[in-house]
């Protein structure tokens, strides 16, 4: 810490040892939650519970089974297929790549932070924000279908709660990693991201029953199938995927590998972009 004594600069104590990356995680949370795109992210994630509330009031629900089917239908078709990936693309994708393109990365790299810790801290902060908002949205969805005259029964309620929260949290992490690397590689990450979603998560899902697919959404469904003890959900997944689902362990492993691969690729591309940027400055 410095103090100013007249015209003399005096160092009174050296910088402390507080881990700087925790500050960066908090800053990334703030950037994610307060950015201009955040409003769009909130709207996207508010969509499943809003549609759920409208459905509950408009549809003629006469038993708990129908409630569970609509709940899982909204979780699979709306939350995991559209709202969550689009929200991840908007909020987490540009967080690290913008540091490079905007030229603010230099402030971080000339502090006590390695490249890896900058990447991880920003990723963790963005993912934490996305998980918090998406789990809140999923909680509203659970509340919408868990109570009332024909609400979910005890066992289904537990499965909806645990399975829904777990899969949304895991999905947020994986989609954030995927869109992070897309933002690092491509100059128009939004266009590429939407293209990626349409091809891998939407078109591939329409492939015939029984075919195993290497998409994030498909592995999230396999994981959900393995960790959730809900007969209604299982019959819905079997109807759509047949015996093409992977085991929960295999899908979990593949999702971990996707996240690790995406982060490693991001780190390598980050260094490459720094290098090319420095080259352009010297040209």
């Amino acid at each position: 810490m410095n103090s100013d004594q007249g015209d003399t600069l005096v160092a009174t104590s050296p910088p402390g040892r507080w881990p700087p990356w925790s500050t960066l995680v908090r800053f990334a949370v703030r950037q994610t939650l307060r950015s201009r795109r955040a409003v769009l992210v909130y709207l996207l994630l508010a969509l499943p519970p809003v549609v759920g509330i409208i459905t509950v009031h408009a549809a003629d629900i006469s038993d708990a089974r129908t409630s569970a089917q609509i709940y899982w239908g909204l979780t699979l078709a709306m939350m995991l297929t559209a709202s969550l990936p689009l929200a991840a693309m908007l909020s987490c994708g540009p967080l690290v790549s913008n540091e490079v393109s905007d030229g603010t990365l230099v402030y971080l790299l000339t502090r006590r932070l390695s490249r890896q810790s900058v990447l991880l801290a920003k990723f963790l902060g963005a993912v934490f924000s996305l998980v918090a908002v998406s789990v809140l949205s999923q909680a509203l969805l659970v509340v919408t279908f868990a109570f009332g005259r024909y609400g979910l029964t005890g066992a289904e309620r537990g499965a909806a709660l645990v399975g829904g929260f777990a899969i949304v949290a895991v999905g947020a992490v994986v989609f954030a990693a995927v869109f992070n690397v897309i933002s690092m590689i491509f100059r128009k990450p939004l266009a590429v991201g939407v293209g990626f979603l349409i091809v891998t998560e939407w078109i591939f899902l329409t492939l015939p029953v029984g075919i195993r697919r290497l998409t994030v959404g498909y592995h999230l469904r396999s994981l959900l199938n393995g960790i959730t003890d809900s007969p209604i959900l299982r019959s819905m997944l079997a109807e759509r995927a047949g015996d093409g689902l992977w085991s929960a362990g295999a899908s979990g492993g593949i999702l971990v590998a996707i996240v690790a691969g995406a982060l490693t690729t991001s780190a390598i591309i980050m260094m490459w972009r720094e290098f090319t940027q420095a080259r352009e400055e010297e040209r």
Binding site: M1, N2, G16, W18, P20, G103, T104, R279, E282
Partner: protein
């Protein structure tokens, strides 16, 4: 004087583009000016010194250590980049405080350090405003504050005076000099000779990635004697300023610009730089910027490298 930064046959290539080529030099404590045209290799050298880039060949040592992947060393270095980039939505205080926290300070310590650093650059009254509302000169001062905030032993400043008005420029030069007197090492890059001449006599001159001269600035300045230099002064009161400057013997010509600013030719830019802040303050003339459209360093390189510039 102790050697703080040592370069040994240091080279950096970006594929086919050469950033720095076989540079050997020593930078002692005190102020050193790093002079060169845009694209000469100054920023590459500073990026190597702050561990942002790894040398392609040779070696750079700061305080006896290699900077690449050496985060512990970075707490002894303060860096002010040339680029005009900031995170959006932050106030000056939040920006400097966050970078203090990223230097390893606890909350209260960071608060005090940020207040101190902002005060050093004369930005105290503006630190609660968003950086997006700042003028170029204010943003420049904020960048210098973040470089000072963790009280580094070595300050590396890439074009720190660009965009500043003459009064702020004089204040910042005094601040750099004061830090050097306190035993810190200050490396200032610039493409404007008289800016560096106002701070130090010790220079490194870089051209096309190579060190073309190092040592005393007077030898370089003697090469420029008799050459006139163009200076642009951003002010809405160009006519009034022209009337005040016209009698000075070092003013060769004066012209009022369309925006009200003043464009002049001078035979002694350093003297103009010394006297201008007092003239502006005494006559209450606002001034947003002072710049040298002529790259006078090009003439020096012409002499030193025998290349037509």
């Amino acid at each position: 004087m102790a050697v703080v930064v040592e370069l040994r046959e240091l080279s950096k290539w970006y594929g086919e583009v050469m950033g720095l080529n076989n540079v050997t030099a020593s930078i002692p404590s005190g102020i050193t000016g790093l002079l060169g045209q845009n694209g000469a290799g100054k920023t590459t050298l500073l990026a190597l010194a702050t561990g942002q880039l790894r040398p392609s060949r040779g070696e750079i040592r700061v305080f006896g250590e290699r900077p690449w992947n050496n985060t512990a060393l970075l707490s002894r270095i303060g860096y002010c980049p040339e680029g005009d980039s900031f995170w959006s939505g932050l106030t000056g205080r939040e920006f400097v405080r966050m970078l203090a926290r990223l230097s390893g300070m606890k909350r209260r310590q960071a608060d005090r350090a940020a207040e101190w650093a902002i005060e050093q650059v004369g930005m105290t009254e503006h630190m609660g405003r968003r950086i997006a509302e700042y003028s170029r000169g204010m943003r420049q001062r904020t960048k210098i504050a973040q470089a000072l905030v963790h009280d580094p032993e070595l300050l590396i400043l890439d074009e720190p005076l660009s965009g500043t008005d003459p009064v702020v420029r004089a204040d910042l030069i005094n601040l750099f000099k004061r830090m050097a007197e306190e035993g810190k090492t200050v490396i200032v890059s610039s493409h404007v000779l008289h800016e560096v001449a106002a701070m130090t006599e010790n220079i490194l001159l870089i051209d096309h990635g190579q060190l073309v001269a190092d040592g005393n600035i007077h030898e370089v300045r003697s090469l420029l004697e008799g050459q006139r230099q163009r200076i642009a002064i951003g002010t809405p009161a160009g006519r009034k300023l022209a009337t005040l400057l016209a009698p000075k013997e070092y003013i060769i010509s004066l012209a009022i610009q369309e925006d009200g600013g003043l464009l002049l030719h001078t035979s002694d830019p350093e003297r103009l730089q010394q006297e201008l802040p007092r003239i502006l303050l005494d006559n209450d003339i606002p001034c947003s910027e002072m710049a040298s459209p002529d790259d006078n360093i090009r003439a020096v390189f012409g002499y030193l490298t025998r290349r037509p510039q």
